[in-house]
Amino acid sequence: MNLRNIRILSIAVALIGLTVLYGISLSAKTPLVALSDVPQYQGTYVTAHGMVETVYTTGKRTSLTLYDKGTRMEVVTWNPVESTAVGDWISVTGRVGTYRGVPQIVVDEMLSIEHIPHATPHITIADVSGHHGEYVSVEGRIVSLVMTGRNTVIHIKDDRRSIPVFVKGLPSDQDQAITRGDRVRIAGKVVQYRRNYEIKPLSWECITVLEKGEGGFTMDELALYPELYKGKEITIVGHPQHRNGRDYLTSNGLSLLLIDHQLPETQGTVTLHGRFDYDPALFAYGLWATDQKA
């Protein structure tokens, strides 16, 4: 074979080969694998989904910890990932490598990180116990918002049940304008604290306000943390109710005993202001109302 033929043949084969490779690259997407299976794909490109648990940036290098179904995987990228926050569900495409013997996904293209909306399974508060240790998303109305030192405990309630939500940090530190009465969706991990289930979101960004409430103090908060408000002046809204010879103020299925106070006969809501305290004679907490608005 002479040089001329070698030239023609090599150019023809190269061009045909590149065309075929283009077709293959369009059709052959990187395999979508579960995070737990990623180590088996050492040295190759894979696509994996997971929730961002941590984001750590040093210089141009950003490390993300992805979580899915009990498996965590380190993702390393040298591209800016400003739009990715803790709690986001993302899809990453990168090469599987190892760093000090630990598998990791190295992402070398910015487009390789995509956000996946609502990938966390959405459940009702009643079903939380069946998802222990998993990341879930629940919806409910905030019935209490209590700061404990440097953290916050929120109670959310849907139609049937309520559940505490433990969030690191204080709401005032965040831009989130979360108030009592807001209807929210919270994505977090189901954990047990003193044998009770609670939701532990990774950050305040995992709490999405779906509907703004009226705010103010709620009866639920009083029922959950009576000792916190013992001896304090409070203002509370509810429906007057008279039963067993005593007056109560009811709201959201809860009743507050009114001590030494006569309520007017009305079907509407009333707002009472007074001192919340424990009555040892009745073995119950009650309200010594001093002011009343119809």
Binding site: L18, V46, D108
Partner: protein, 524 residues
């Protein structure tokens, strides 16, 4: 304890060197593939060497020992891989447009001389590398910090310089080369049928009659007839050059010659090869491949093996050379020239190791731009010093810049904690690895000469075409095992792309666009 640790480092370095010697003589097998295989076997090796903890050695030191073996294997590989590169893949000397310096020596029966010179170049690079460590630490590393934001532009500039520096001139002008005695003054009818200049075709034997339009120089003039004009260039230099306006009859062969645009045509082809290889690189960059043996595989392995390994072998198979009997005598080495060649090879390696995607192939081209002596002997010394110096400086770059520039360094980074060295006492792991480099370099030097001598002795007894065919099949098998059918296809396309620069006569290093272009696009 220090003696025990030192002894183990030397022992593992020797072990790694022997492994590097074995892999170095496998043509087309890259040290990065070895790093992938060794990286996959390291957890098992760590468990196997667990008994060493009974002697008071920490698990981190055991992992350093494995890295010592890996680095010494990579260094020895850079020494030994020149042996198959010299003896295999040479094209037929007369027809080849480009011929590698080692192949030029092989066709002169001096393949062994080339191997000895390569060993000198590689070992010189090891010694130079050690002397250059302080300069690397205090000059190159800070320079990298300054230049880091502009790496994309530097890579682009390097690509342009490489293409612009292409020396190949593509002949495109028609020329008539008269046969011996084929020029005479026109005097009446001529025995042969005359052709018009316009109708001449490449490769024709023709008889043309016309008037000398312009004399360009001795035995070179333009001949004109009513249909056009053509250059006549007498190569045999026989008889006088006709004067202007003289009518002559020329009998000769129509060929192509270089013209004003030949250099630019060469650059254009170089740019075409770069872009074609770059497109190839972009297409395979993220292409998933499946390994049939459960080992990690990357599409770059079949691509690079195809472009630089299989293409050369196929070319050699198509234009099989007559390999003469090889001389086994010690070559005369010009030590002062060799010293400069090592220096010219090693300094660019220290600089280009900062840049991602710039490989020893590019570094060689840059080094050759600055070299005075372009004899095959000194080019071999420069080329081999670049390869070994690049391997050594990539180790230093890992510890000073925290950037792994080769597959071996990427594996190493995953095995031991890499602490940045910015001055003062080097990290313990780096000290052990530098000892390994020295041990491996010394053993590698003697091993290269020994293996080269054996190769030169037995090589001519082996049927060349069968050997080349077997190696191509072997590379195909490796590509299939590592990357499956898709990898085999990539290797085929890579071989076709690799054949273009060889058959066109431009440098093969332009095909390194397969790495450079995707990196530039990622950085952009």
């Amino acid at each position: 304890m220090i003696l025990l640790e030192f002894g183990l480092v030397v022992a593992f370095a020797t072990l790694g060197t022997l492994l590097g010697v074995a892999t170095g003589i496998i043509p087309g097998f890259h040290a990065n593939n070895l790093a992938l295989i060794l990286g996959a076997t390291f957890p098992g090796a760590m468990a196997y060497l667990g008994f060493l903890t009974g002697y008071g050695l920490s698990p981190s030191f055991i992992s350093i020992l494995l890295c010592v073996a890996l680095v010494s294997c990579a260094i020895a590989h850079t020494f030994l891989n020149f042996v198959p590169a010299t003896f295999l893949g040479a094209p037929e000397g007369e027809t080849a447009l480009t011929i590698l310096p080692a192949h030029a020596l092989l066709l002169e029966g001096r393949g062994y001389h080339g191997v000895v010179l390569s060993a000198v170049g590689s070992y010189g690079a090891v010694l130079f590398g050690f002397a250059f460590i302080p300069l690397f630490l205090y000059v190159v590393t800070p320079a990298y910090m300054v230049l880091r934001p502009y790496i994309m532009w530097i890579l682009l500039a390097i690509s342009v310089v490489l293409i612009y520096s292409e020396h190949c001139q593509i002949p495109y002008k028609k020329v008539v080369i008269p046969v011996y005695g084929g020029v005479r003054l026109s005097s009446g009818p001529h025995g042969h049928e005359k052709m018009r200049i316009k109708d001449l075709r490449m490769g024709d034997r023709c008889v043309i009659e016309g008037r000398v339009a312009q004399v360009m120089g001795p035995y070179e003039y333009y001949l004109q007839d009513p249909s056009g004009r053509i250059l006549v260039r007498a190569e045999h230099r026989w008889g006088p050059t006709p004067l202007e306006s003289t009518r002559v009859v020329v009998e000769g062969d129509v060929a192509k010659t270089t013209g004003r645009w030949s250099r630019w045509a060469g650059r254009g082809i170089a740019a075409g090869v770069y872009c074609l290889a770059g497109c190839f690189g972009c297409l395979i960059w993220n292409l998933p491949t499946i390994s049939y043996i459960g080992l990690p595989g990357s599409p770059l392995f079949p691509a690079l093996a195809g472009i630089f390994g299989v293409a050369t072998l196929i070319y050699s198979l198509m234009l099989t050379p007559e390999i003469p009997k090889q001389r086994i005598d010690e070559p005369l080495i010009n030590w002062s020239e060799s010293f400069w060649s090592v220096l010219i090879g090693s300094i660019p390696a220290a600089i280009t190791v900062m840049l991602p995607g710039v490989t020893p192939a590019h570094t060689t081209v840059i080094a050759r731009l600055g070299s005075r002596d372009r004899t095959p002997e000194q080019v071999i010394v420069t080329l081999c010093s670049v390869n070994t110096a690049y391997c050594l400086f990539s180790l230093l770059a890992l510890f000073t810049l925290l950037r792994p520039r080769t597959g071996v360094m990427m594996s190493l980074q995953g095995l031991v904690p890499v602490h940045q060295w910015s001055g003062g006492t080097p990290p313990y792991a780096l000290c052990c690895l530098l000892v390994a480099v020295l041990v491996s370099g010394t053993i590698g030097y003697f091993a290269t000469i020994w293996v080269g001598k054996r190769f030169a002795t037995f090589f001519t007894r082996i049927p060349y075409r069968k050997l080349i065919g077997g190696i191509i099949c072997g590379l195909g098998c490796l590509a299939f095992l590592f990357t499956g059918w898709r990898g085999l296809f990539i290797m085929g396309v890579g071989a076709a792309i690799g054949l273009i620069p060889i058959s066109m006569g431009v440098r093969r290093s332009h095909a390194m666009g397969v790495l450079l272009l995707p990196i530039i696009l990622v950085l952009a």
